[in-house]
């Protein structure tokens, strides 16, 4: 869970702090800094949530607290 929060903070704030430097790199024809804010972080959020739902469920099962 703390790992999730760390990832969240990174994709929400961390990476955008470096937008000016990242904009000098091109990715799929986009400046990378712009791309991260427009799409990259969003994709990361979606993947994180599906993974979180899956992983948390596995933890629940392991400790026998999952719903039947």
């Amino acid at each position: 869970m703390f790992f999730m929060l760390l990832l969240w903070a990174f994709f929400s704030f961390g990476i955008h702090y470096f937008v000016i430097d990242l904009n000098t790199i091109q990715f799929l024809g986009f400046p990378l800094g712009f791309y991260m804010a427009a799409q990259g972080s969003l994709i990361a959020f979606v993947l994180m949530l599906f993974w979180f739902a899956y992983a948390q469920d596995r933890i629940d099962r392991k400790y026998g607290v999952a719903e039947d």
Binding site: M4, S12, G29, F34, A37, I43, E67
Partner: protein, 661 residues
């Protein structure tokens, strides 16, 4: 299906969802194609507009009517039977308001990179929802957010404060939705704005009133399908036309490169001054980094505390489904949000290429259509006719008779609605976009009205005024309140309040500061008690509200008594207003002590924080207050400790589940 709906009947309904909505989506495509054919054979535009608006409204109303209900748990939480996938879709529609559908691409158009704060804030918040809040509230088994506050912190004071916060943020929000409906209806149906507002109201009521949460859920799924199709169609067409690939999210990189090239060109040709042009990809031109990240933070935390979103997760069958459902919600929201920057880029390119640099006598007709609604200005006047703009531009010294960037002002709400016309697409696409915008506004309005009415009927009436009220009376009270709140909101919208869009962004800060600390500490910190929560809600919410109201309406008071200073320009760091000079000039300083027109409005504050990010003060203060006050007062009972242990574990019965009466 008849009333009351039998368990078996709705079970069949849930089992056949895939088939029903698949059929519905196919039907919708067929309907769009049919209208396209009608347009080709010469049916006039306004009839196509009417068909789009009324037929989609009729479908929503039909769903609302067949899913009507008389059961309490169906009315408040859709019987807790909504599968994760569909709940995600409904949450997507609930979440994406007129502001997301109509306003977001426009904001990105105007602000470029800085506008992405909205995209980030409104998606990243769901990570917080999934980790901190939704699964635990689902396990708790409350009907409403104030319901949780009351059970967790004991007593009706916490409940009552929760209701106040909820009503404050939801009401401004719902007014903005009805305003959006009015805007779209008046543009596409040619109705008077005030009448259009009430037409929208009828549509909303038909869905929400009869079936409560159950009806709203299934209409929202239908509305999501309409709105996503409507949003993606124009940019897919544009993308294939320009770059030969129908995936706009990939191709708009080229559009951005073209925009950057065109920006240089316009400056070279004297069509734009460096001051008026904000390069699209350059960050921190409107918001400095503090405000940019502050805004992201407030929007995220606000997302995780808006009651109409949280209550959607009360409807899933289990805690596991609630978590999966948050992921699906974000996926469906993401589909629209990662397309919004593409929308902005394509329409910006179209405007730069087809509007800027054009002779005044040769402007495209769509400019005048929106100019007549007061949404496009050229040379400082509404672009109502060619004569009007020619006259206005001639008054500007040295004007060459072509539109320059600094002459052109477009309301951000127009971008999405007008892109099909800007790009010269058939009218049926414009009608489709209007139907989508309407779906977005209606679905959000439904969810918000339900949140308000549920809080008033369940929390205030049932729990605080008359705990022995029989089921039928509770549901009647809920419906009457829903209608009253809706009419009040429609009335407010019909007066065209000028500040309505600013207020929507405020709702996020208010919800964040008022509810987030109490919800998170209530779930995660067992020692948090009633005194702490009450104090935390009051100080967090109060401070944020105070900051908003003072900076917006009483800036002078803020400067004189609260030590506020002028905000600074994001690029040059120079103060926006010279306070010392103004204070010396009584003519300006004392013009009007109150009001949006004050020369200092929204230009003063602490540490140069915009009032849109005011949750930056309220959220930490709320947390701190709960922590300090809780430690100074007695600990909660052992029973509460046990309860909190149990909501961390998905297994077992929900604490508050009520047997259907």
């Amino acid at each position: 299906m008849s009333t009351p709906v039998s368990d078996k009947g709705s079970g069949d309904f849930v089992a056949n969802l895939g088939k029903i909505y698949g059929f519905y989506t196919g039907g919708f495509f067929g309907f769009v194609l049919l209208l396209a054919v009608l347009e080709q054979v010469g049916v006039p535009n306004y009839i196509i507009g009417y068909l789009f608006v009324f037929l989609t409204l009729a479908v929503y109303a039909f769903i609302g009517i067949i899913t009507r209900t008389q059961q309490v748990s169906e009315y408040y939480v859709a019987g807790r039977r909504v599968p994760a996938f569909y709940n995600g879709m409904a949450t997507g529609a609930d979440w994406m308001s007129a502001a997301s559908f109509v306003g977001m691409a426009g904001t990105l158009f105007l602000l470029g990179y800085d506008g992405l704060a909205f995209v980030l804030g409104w998606t990243g918040g769901y990570v917080l929802v999934a980790i901190f809040v939704a699964p635990f509230l689902r396990k708790f088994g409350a009907y409403t957010v104030p319901d949780f506050l009351s059970k967790r912190f004991g007593g009706n004071l916490a409940r009552f404060l929760g209701v106040i916060v909820l009503v404050c943020c939801s009401f401004t929000y719902v007014t903005a939705q009805i305003y959006g409906t009015g805007l779209i209806a008046s543009r596409f149906l040619g109705m008077d704005f005030t009448i259009a507002v009430y037409v929208g109201l009828v549509g909303i009521l038909l869905c929400a009133m009869l079936g409560g949460m159950r009806a709203v859920t299934w209409t929202q799924v239908a509305q999501y399908i309409v709105l996503i199709v409507a949003y993606l169609t124009p940019i897919i067409i544009l993308s294939s036309q320009k770059y030969g690939l129908p995936i706009p999210q990939l191709t708009y990189g080229h559009a951005i490169a073209d925009i950057t090239a065109r920006e240089q060109e316009m400056i070279a040709q004297g069509l734009a001054t460096a001051a008026a042009l904000k390069p699209h990809i350059q960050p921190f031109l409107t918001y400095d980094p503090l405000n940019y990240f502050g805004l992201i933070f407030c929007l995220m935390v606000g997302t995780a505390s808006l009651p109409h979103i949280l209550m959607r997760y009360f409807t899933t069958p289990s805690v596991r489904e609630a978590r999966v459902s948050v992921a699906w919600s974000l996926f469906f929201i993401f589909l629209l949000y990662f397309s919004a920057p593409a929308y902005a880029a394509f329409s910006k390119l179209e405007v730069y290429n087809t509007v800027i640099g054009r002779p005044l006598g040769d402007v495209r007709p769509w400019l005048l259509t929106y100019g007549q609604l007061g949404l496009i200005k050229i040379c400082g006047v509404d672009a109502v006719s060619i004569d009007a703009i020619v006259t206005a531009c001639q008054k500007i010294a040295g004007h060459a008779g072509v539109i320059r960037l600094q002459d052109f002002r477009i309301d951000t709400d127009v971008i999405v609605l007008s892109t099909p016309e800007i790009a010269g697409m058939p009218y049926v696409i414009a009608g489709l976009v209007a139907a989508g915008g309407l779906a977005a506004a209606l679905s959000t309005a439904d969810g918000l009205l339900l949140a308000i009415a549920n809080a008033l009927s369940h929390d205030v009436y049932y729990k605080m005024i008359d705990p022995r009220a029989p089921t039928t009376r509770r549901l009647i009270v809920a419906r009457v309140l829903l209608v009253l709140v809706a009419i009040l909101a429609a009335y407010t919208a019909s007066t065209r309040p000028s500040d309505i869009l600013a207020m929507v962004s405020w709702a996020f800060s208010l919800a964040a500061a008022g509810l987030f600390p109490a919800l998170v500490l209530g779930i995660w910190w067992k020692r948090a008690n009633s005194y702490g929560a009450v104090a935390g809600i009051i100080t967090g919410f109060g401070l944020t509200l105070m900051y908003l109201v003072v900076t917006r309406y009483f800036p002078q008071f803020g400067v004189e008594f609260l030590g506020m200073t002028s905000n600074v320009n994001a690029v040059t760091r120079a103060p926006l207003v010279d306070l010392a000079k103004l204070a010396a000039d009584p003519a300006v300083w004392n013009v009007s002590p109150v009001g949006a027109a004050h020369p200092l409005a929204s230009k003063v504050g602490w540490f140069s924080v915009n009032n849109i990010s005011s949750g930056l003060f309220g959220v930490p203060i709320g947390f701190l207050t709960i922590w300090i006050v809780s430690l100074l007062t007695p600990a909660p009972s052992q029973r509460m400790y046990d309860l909190l242990d149990s909501i961390r574990k998905p297994r077992g019965v929900a604490y508050l589940d009520e047997k259907p009466a």
